[in-house]
Amino acid sequence: MESARMLVFNQLETYLYLALMLFAIGLYGVLARRNLIAVLISVELILNAASINFMAFNRFLAPTPAVGQVITLFIMAVAAAEAAIALSIIVAVYRKLRSVNIEQATELRG
Amino acid sequence: MTEHLASFPVLSCMLLAPPLGLFVLLFLKEEQQFLIRVVSLVAAGISFALSIYTFAAYDQKLGGLQFVEKYEWVKTFGITYFVGVEGMNAPLLLLTGIVIFTGVLTMWELQDRVKEYFIFQLALVTGVFGVFMSYDMFFFFLFYEIAVVPMYILILIWGSTRKIYAAMKLTLYLMAGSGLIIPGILLLYASSGIFTFDMVRLHAVQFAPWVQKLTFVMMYLGFGVLAGVWPFHTWSPVGHVAAPTAVSMLHAGVLMKLGSFAILRVAMYLCPQGFQYWAQLMGLLAATGIVYGVFVGLAQTDLKYVIGYSSVSHMGIVGLGLATGTVDGLNGAVFQMFAHGVMTALFFSAVGFIYDRTHTRDIHELGGFSKIMPVASAFFITAALCGAGVPGMASFWAELLVLVAAVKVFTVRGLFAIAALVIGALFALRVVQNTFFNEPNPKFIHYEDVSPFLGLPRMILIGFMIFFGIFPQVMVGLIKTSIIPFIQGL
């Protein structure tokens, strides 16, 4: 039992750091990518990072293991909705600018 | 301080007459100019009459706060509607009444956007009345701001000479003052432990010395901006120059008094230790202002600039009186507020009349106006003489009290202030000579003199000035009733 707890996939921190890395990678993508769709993908990564967190807490700390799973499910739904809206707006942007490069959208400043 | 409740809400009526008039004006048409003027005059007249009534009916034997009205306003934050009259604000209410009434009459000939003009002017006056009668810091500050902000529009639209710059500068400068006042007021509120804005109750609280020192200096600077305390005075000449006649009258005549009155009423009253701590600085700034104002005024060529700087100097006298912290000094300071108010109103109304005709205020261009408009000139000269501290005018007594008290408390500064009287005389007479004496400028020779109707407001002002010049005890005796307990409370 003791050794089981020591196992790397049996430790909360592993998942937390993992989620964190995913979060940071996603954040990097949001900050660095010009392609709006890539930015959207990065946002999905961020949401997944949060899901992992929830699931990890659910697994290791929460009194009832169902709550975290439910939350993760909802996050997925929200992410889907978000993706739908974002994609539709991206398409609209493309129609306007003939490009999905966010750096082309520079009308608003100051 | 004892409080005597009012049987009839005199003060509220005085306060509400202008906004009521304002409300009526909202529903009048721009074309109905005469009606608009009459409504404004009636509103101002009611306040004026009531202010005279309170001045006369105040029972000096009884003393304390009279005509008190007090209602809970916002209980949670300790805000009360608390108005009253005592010796130190009765003269100022009277002053406001005089100046607004004469101000409306002075602007009788206004043609441009009449309705809006009177709306804003009445709004402003409401604020002024409110400040003078409020004994609750919340309302005090509320009215204070009401009095300050309409100035922006009044100057902007009906003003002259660099009005855009001046209006913005004036408003921002004064609001920057408010930026210091709010924390000051709130610091008192918060550190009182009783969470009330009621000044009379706050007065009973012993604030910690650091609170008093901090609050006092913030309020002094904040209100001092409005009071034209050197070196925060620069808005005042610029603003006065730009403002239309009645607004200059109100502004220099009444609004600047708000600042000095507030220093007295709020800062000194609530933070006596703070006052003791900063009194030296106050005296220094005030004396500097007195000397500085006259010297700078000496170099001006615009009539209104001259008056503006004379206001700086005269308000310095008020400040010096306050700084002495003696009964004489405070009596003199309050008296000077009144006297200077009437005097400056007269100044501006005389200048305004001439400016409206000639469209110039340059003293080199004008000249010989005594020949062209003897009556208008006489008004100005009277005001100038009053400004020079000639006896027989109200301001003489005030200056006398302040200066003697100042010599006692701050000898050197007091002597400097006295010495500035010469320059003050030179200053006033230089303007009078250049503008009203010598050969008349042929360009202006065909202008007509003040009509009796338009002369009326000026006569009222002169009348008050001379009445209190000959019977100063009427004023001093009244002021004294509240100053003596005030000083004992310090």
Binding site: L31 | F437, E439, V476
Partner: protein, 637 residues
């Protein structure tokens, strides 16, 4: 104050009436000359009657009558309103009332047709009010107030013809310069009231007599108050306003120079004589200043060509003379009589001289007595006779009033241990006689061909009645001349009664023959000198002083005092202080405010660069701030 004392009632009445005359005329009737004149003259006559009645009734007064009610009471400062009726004030009361009545009478003729006739009478009423109030006031503060009002009314009257630049300038100068002295006065009052507690004249005098004042209080207070006297009585170095003050109508000059404005200063010195005499230091200073004034003005009088200016400088010199007399008396423990007596006599003959000058000016429309002489000034009989009488009095020739009063002053000077003062006084007497008779001789012995020294002296006023040529002297102008000439002749012989009235007893001195001879000698010498220079057949019509052109020029330039003050005003006040302060106000103070404002706007512009158009830069900023705050929060834990 149980029952109302009729005298006080009278005093109050005269003040109130004068004030109401002023007010009525200024507000209602200033456009109507006749009505204004009626009001003013009636009031003036009533005042005259009251003054004389009071004077006569109270002539046997033992104790001074004092009335004092509170005018304004603050805490420590209380200003009483009241009257102090004692011989000094009563005498002055009468003088003032009389002279101002005469002047009002005279002005009917002089000012006839002037567009500001009503206004003129209003100002005269104000002048009378302030002077009467000054004279009979019981407290120094009330005195100061009236003192200032005197300054005000003199300002108004001197600048009466305000269209003329010189007139308005002169009015301003008079007001400001006397104000300059007044601040000293005011400081002195503040000093006294703060350290002594009251400004009641009677108690100050009695306290001074009983040595209740310490010296440190007494001397500065006395000197500060003397500053005011210097201003009003035109003593060196702030005498410069008085010669210019002739820009006003001549009756006004007469009023100013005889009984009112300038006399007020010496009156105050007399009034506080016991107080002043307790401080030898102060008295010495006063003596010095008065002596300098005497010599200065006499020398300038020698070269002036404007008749009014000559009289003006003579006034200054005589005021210096009075001051010398009072100071000498104070130093030797004497009495105030001599100086005050000279004040009295001087009031009479100086008013006379000015009014005569006024007649000439009125007639010839010039101020230059050389021109008058050329135009036949001596043909005007009444003024010519009376002016000669006045001149004789001024020169100190027996039996005119000036002789007696000058004699009394020289007697006081004689008593001083240092005889230098006496010598200087005699020199002054000599010069006085010289320049006085310079005028008289020029008028009497005209030489039309020699006119040329008086160019540049303008006609006093050319409007109103310049076109109508009047012949002879109207009676309203002649009567005052005759009355005043009568006074001048008589007053000298009333020395003893006046002394008795003032001091309660007559101090008989053994006649000092040395002094008498030297004084008369000086006067006659002066006249003789004038005769040699101007009167005699072979006279060159130029002053003996022309032999030393440098000195003459120095005198013509009035000792450069005007230049000095002009320089002081232009360079120091306007040039240095005013300009520096203005620059400071525009650039430093106001510039600082504007700098703050622009700085705010600028920082707004700077901060707006954060809001780039690039989404990701914004997001980066957001993330960095969030991360920064987060790490900051974690640091402490």
């Amino acid at each position: 104050m149980g029952s109302v004392n009729p005298f006080f009632l009278g005093c109050t009445l005269s003040l109130v009436l004068s004030l109401s005359a002023f007010g009525l005329i200024m507000i209602f009737t200033w456009r109507r000359p006749k009505l204004s004149l009626a009001i003013s003259l009636t009031v003036s006559t009533i005042c005259l009657i009251i003054a004389w009645l009071t004077f006569i009734k109270l002539s046997a007064l033992k104790e001074p009558l004092i009335l004092s009610v509170d005018w304004m009471m603050s805490d420590q400062i209380r200003v009483p309103f009241g009257f102090l009726l004692d011989p000094t004030s009563l005498l002055m009361f009468v003088i003032v009332a009389t002279i101002s009545w005469l002047i009002q009478l005279y002005s009917i003729g002089y000012m006839a047709g002037d567009s500001g006739f009503g206004r003129y009478y209003a100002f005269l009423s104000l002048f009378a009010l302030s002077m009467l109030g000054l004279v009979i006031s019981s407290g120094l503060l009330q005195l100061y107030i009236c003192w200032e009002l005197v300054g005000l009314s003199s300002y108004l009257l001197i600048g009466f013809w305000y269209e003329k630049f010189s007139a308005s300038e002169a009015g301003k100068k008079a007001f400001v310069v006397t104000r300059f002295g007044d601040i000293g006065f005011f400081m002195g009052l503040a000093f006294l009231v703060l350290n002594f507690g009251t400004l009641d004249i009677h108690s100050i005098n009695s306290a001074a007599m009983s040595k209740a004042f310490p010296a440190w209080l007494l001397t500065p207070a006395a000197l500060l108050i003397f500053c005011g006297i210097m201003g009003k009585s035109a003593q060196f170095p702030i005498h410069v306003w008085l010669p210019d003050a002739m820009e006003g109508p001549t009756p006004v000059s007469a009023l100013l120079h005889s009984a009112t404005m300038v006399a007020a200063g010496m009156y105050l010195l007399t009034r506080l004589f016991p107080f002043f005499s307790c401080s030898p230091t102060a008295m010495t200073v006063i003596l010095t200043i008065c002596t300098i004034t005497l010599l200065l003005s006499s020398t300038i009088g020698m070269v002036a060509t404007d008749i009014k200016q000559v009289w003006a400088y003579s006034t200054i010199s005589q005021l210096g003379f009075m001051g010398m007399g009072l100071a000498a008396a104070g130093l030797t423990g004497g009495y105030l009589f001599a100086g005050f007596y000279h004040l009295t006599t001087h009031a009479g003959f100086k008013a006379l001289l000015f009014l005569c000058a006024g007649v000439f000016i009125h007639h010839f429309h010039t101020n230059d007595f050389f021109v008058m002489s050329a135009k036949g000034g001596r043909r005007l009989l009444i003024p010519m006779v009376t002016v000669t009488i006045g001149a004789l009095a001024l020169a100190g020739i027996f039996p005119f009033s000036g002789f007696f009063s000058k004699e009394a002053i020289l007697a006081e000077l004689w008593n001083l241990p240092n005889k230098m003062w006496l010598g200087l006084g005699l020199l002054g007497a000599f010069l006085t006689a010289y320049y006085t008779f310079r005028v008289i001789f020029v008028l009497l012995f005209p030489r039309p061909q020699a006119v040329g020294g008086g160019h540049g002296v303008e006609e006093e006023h050319g409007h109103g009645h310049g076109q109508e040529e009047e012949h002879g002297v109207p009676w309203v102008m002649a009567v005052p001349l005759i009355i005043l000439a009568g006074f001048t002749c008589v007053l000298g012989f009333l020395q003893a009664p006046i002394q008795k009235f003032l001091l309660g007893e007559v101090h008989h001195h053994a006649p000092n023959y040395v002094l008498l001879v030297s004084a008369v000698g000086c006067a006659l010498g002066g006249i003789g000198m004038a005769w040699l220079d101007w009167g005699a057949k072979g006279a060159k019509w130029e002053g003996f002083i022309r032999k030393v052109p440098v000195v003459e020029n120095f005198f013509i330039q009035k000792w450069y005092m005007d230049h000095f003050w002009r320089w002081f005003l232009n360079t120091v006040i306007y040039g240095l202080f005013s300009r520096t302060f203005t620059y400071n106000d525009r650039r430093v103070v106001d510039g600082g405010v504007d700098a703050v404002a622009f700085g705010t706007i600028g920082s707004g512009r700077l901060l707006s660069f954060i809001q780039t158009a690039f989404l990701q830069l914004n997001l980066l900023f957001m993330v960095l701030v969030l991360g920064g705050i987060g790490i900051y929060l974690l640091m402490g834990r």
